[in-house]
């Protein structure tokens, strides 16, 4: 709205330039997002097309549509002469493994994170430091040593053993992240819970924990993800054949670089994406809503 008569408007709110300047950061940020995201979108679009195309020209133009690559959903794939286990078995196993890992990791991590954030005891800083430094060991370098431990505990070739190992490898991360979130919870809330008749543990569970939902969302997505895609440990520490997971399923399909069927591979990787995607969207939607209000937070 241009005010013709007035010389210089005292309030800049109504000039076009002001509105542009106001919106500029938003325009720029949407711009940045769009531009940087485009290649990623492109890549995955291509993956989708590839899974439905019978052939690709110039590497990117599909020729014909077919569901052939998606047949694994209803029949077991025969690959290199061997019939692979049903994809659903693999999916179920992966879900089980990832679920178990997530529960264990989030539970232990959230407990330890709370202790490190809110309880006073000697050695707090040291524990944080050591867990961080442990991470400096490439996990693959630990495989041999871990094998000896597992073997010693008769946990070699046991799914439970692998879950424990995996949890141990991940738990410092979870703990560190979650500690940061606990730090920001208002003490008054915890006090209120204590006075309302909770023990410290109960307060932690009933009152403090719900406040760190966004933190739990982020750690659970990462632990689920790492469980979902876990391959190396299972592959190294499980001899028996029955525990096929989606990751190892995929690995089988790519193990011989001479024989990779990219169409099927694309389809399966898309299939592989779905559960994590669902899990991600779910956790984001329900947990990213932070609880604020009701406390004068300082």
């Amino acid at each position: 709205m241009e005010t013709a008569g007035k010389s210089v408007p005292t309030i800049p709110g109504n000039t076009f330039l002001y509105q542009l300047k106001r919106k500029l950061p938003y325009i720029i940020s949407y711009g940045i997002l769009a531009v940087t995201t485009l290649p990623v979108i492109f890549m995955y679009l291509w993956l989708i097309i590839q899974s439905f195309a019978s052939n690709m020209k110039y590497g990117l133009i599909p020729e014909g549509f077919s569901l052939e690559n998606w047949e694994f959903l209803w029949t077991n794939i025969v690959y290199k002469g061997a019939e692979l286990p049903s994809i659903w078995t693999a999916t179920w196993n992966s879900l089980f493994f990832a679920g178990m890992l997530t529960v264990l990791e989030v539970l232990i991590g959230v407990m330890a994170g709370y202790a490190l954030s809110r309880l006073t005891f000697p050695g707090r800083e040291q524990i944080l430091k050591i867990t961080m430094i442990l991470h400096a060991f490439p996990s693959i370098a630990l495989l041999i040593a871990t094998f000896y431990i597992l073997n010693f505990m008769s946990l070699y070739d046991s799914l439970f053993g692998v879950v424990l190992v995996k949890t141990a490898l991940q738990i410092p991360m979870t703990t560190w992240i979650i500690k940061g979130f606990f730090d920001d919870v208002s003490w008054d809330l915890e006090w209120a819970g204590l006075i309302d008749g909770c023990s410290r543990i109960k307060v932690w569970f009933r009152i403090v924990l719900p406040q760190v939902k966004p933190g739990i969302a982020s750690v659970s997505i990462f632990s689920f993800l790492s469980g979902w895609s876990e391959f190396l440990l299972l592959y190294t520490f499980i001899v028996s054949n029955e525990n096929v997971t989606l990751a190892s399923f995929l690995q089988r399909l790519t193990s011989d670089p001479n024989m990779v069927n990219y169409g099927v591979l694309s389809a399966i990787s898309l299939f592989y994406l779905i559960p994590v995607l669902v899990f991600f969207i779910f956790t984001q939607k329900s947990l990213m809503k932070a609880n604020v209000g009701g406390v004068k937070k300082v």
């Binding site: 209120a192 819970g193 204590l194 006075i195 008749g197 109960k202 719900p210 209000g293 009701g294 406390v295």
Partner: protein
């Protein structure tokens, strides 16, 4: 429940004591208000009674039992926090029902009682809201309902009504009072509203810098302040204070002398003293014995009456006039006080010179001088 604090000391930084050797005994079923300037340690004291903070030194007794190591959850208290501290993830109803849930009250009864409490604080229509969707005063009322609902043995209220409007506050006060009386709950109230403290409390503990300055009934606190600090703190507008000197049983201020009642005060010739007069005790006109002449500096209207700010001896004194009082700024005004209504304090120690006043330590030396 009888609450005793014995020689409590609390320090946050190991250098200064936030609470400094505090002693306080609250009888079973008593309603005590903690009054004091902002930052004097009221909340800290309350949190120690609640068991959140542990005193660095000293002991706390509930019914004669030492509870220093008793966990807050076992103390059977209800508390309103100054910051409300509502559970952000629970609805109003669940917030209020939470303490009952901890007591394992069956669900049906629990919800009923919670609803009842919500009705009491006039939030019956907002039961399903989250705290973030409430206004400040509504949040505060939720906090109040939550503290009361479980009918604790000890009720700790830290500014429970600071964000409520006058009429609501009066209703809440009445409710609290009713409940407290009915159930005989020992109650400690922190408030900045003196009227609230006066009307609700059996006794008021006035604090300053982590110590209790006077602990007495509201009337005594008002009528017989032990020292100038209490005198100044209690009563709005605050007591008018004027420095003077005792000259042979008389008080001399700025060349003027005034007769003093020897039977009421310790009068020591040559002693520097402070004269105190409450604005409400000052009458317009020279109707009483002790008379002053002042110049009107400001005339403030507060609804039912007016406050005259008058300059006497270069000091600004406040007194009340009827709402229809009219005068020019700069005009002269005469006013007077009954001898029985005046207060006299030792300027050096700040202690009251009243004959019945208890003589304690001399902790207020540095604050005695008027700023």
């Amino acid at each position: 429940m009888k609450v005793e604090l014995q020689n409590i000391t609390k320090s946050f930084d190991k250098k200064t004591n936030t609470i400094d050797n505090m002693n306080l005994t609250i009888e079973d079923g008593e309603f005590v208000a903690l009054l004091g300037p902002s930052g004097c340690g009221k909340t800290t004291t309350m949190l120690m009674i609640a068991g959140i903070y542990k005193p660095n030194e000293g002991a706390i007794y509930f019914d004669g039992e030492k509870v220093n190591d008793l966990e807050p959850k076992d103390r059977e208290i209800g508390m309103v926090f100054q910051s409300y501290a509502l559970y952000p993830h629970m609805t109003v109803l669940n917030n209020i029902a939470f303490p009952l849930k901890q007591q394992k009250v069956p669900k049906k009864e629990r919800l009923e009682r919670a609803k009842e409490a919500a009705e009491m604080v006039q939030l019956g229509h907002l039961l399903n809201r989250k705290p973030s969707e409430l206004s400040g005063g509504q949040q505060q009322r939720v906090a109040l309902a939550r503290a009361i609902v479980k009918r604790p043995k000890l009720l700790l209220l830290d500014e429970p009504m600071s964000n409520l409007d006058a009429s609501l506050r009066i209703e809440m006060r009445a409710e609290i009072s009713r409940l407290q009386k009915k159930l005989g709950i020992t109650t400690i109230l922190i408030t900045h509203d003196q009227e609230e403290a006066m009307t609700l409390a059996d006794r008021i503990a006035l604090m300053k810098d982590g110590r209790i300055v006077q602990f007495d009934t509201p009337m005594n606190l008002y009528n017989e302040p032990d020292n100038v600090y209490v005198a100044k703190f209690i009563g709005t507008p605050p007591m008018n204070l004027v420095e003077g000197k005792i000259m042979y049983n008389k008080l001399q201020i700025d060349k003027q002398t005034y007769p003093m009642d020897k039977s009421r005060f310790h009068l020591e010739h040559g002693k520097e003293v402070i004269l105190g007069m409450r604005p409400y005790d000052i009458q317009l006109g020279w109707t009483e014995e002790i008379r002053f002449l002042g110049k009107i500096e400001l005339l403030e209207s507060i609804g039912h009456s007016k406050i005259i700010h008058a300059n006497v001896f270069g000091k600004r004194l406040q007194l009340f006039a009827k709402q229809d009082f009219q005068a020019e700024i700069g005009a002269e005004v005469r006013f007077s006080v009954q001898p029985a209504a005046i207060h006299l304090f030792d300027k050096k120690t700040g202690k009251s010179l009243r004959k019945a006043a208890p003589y304690g330590d001399e902790m207020f030396v540095k604050d005695a001088a008027l700023q």
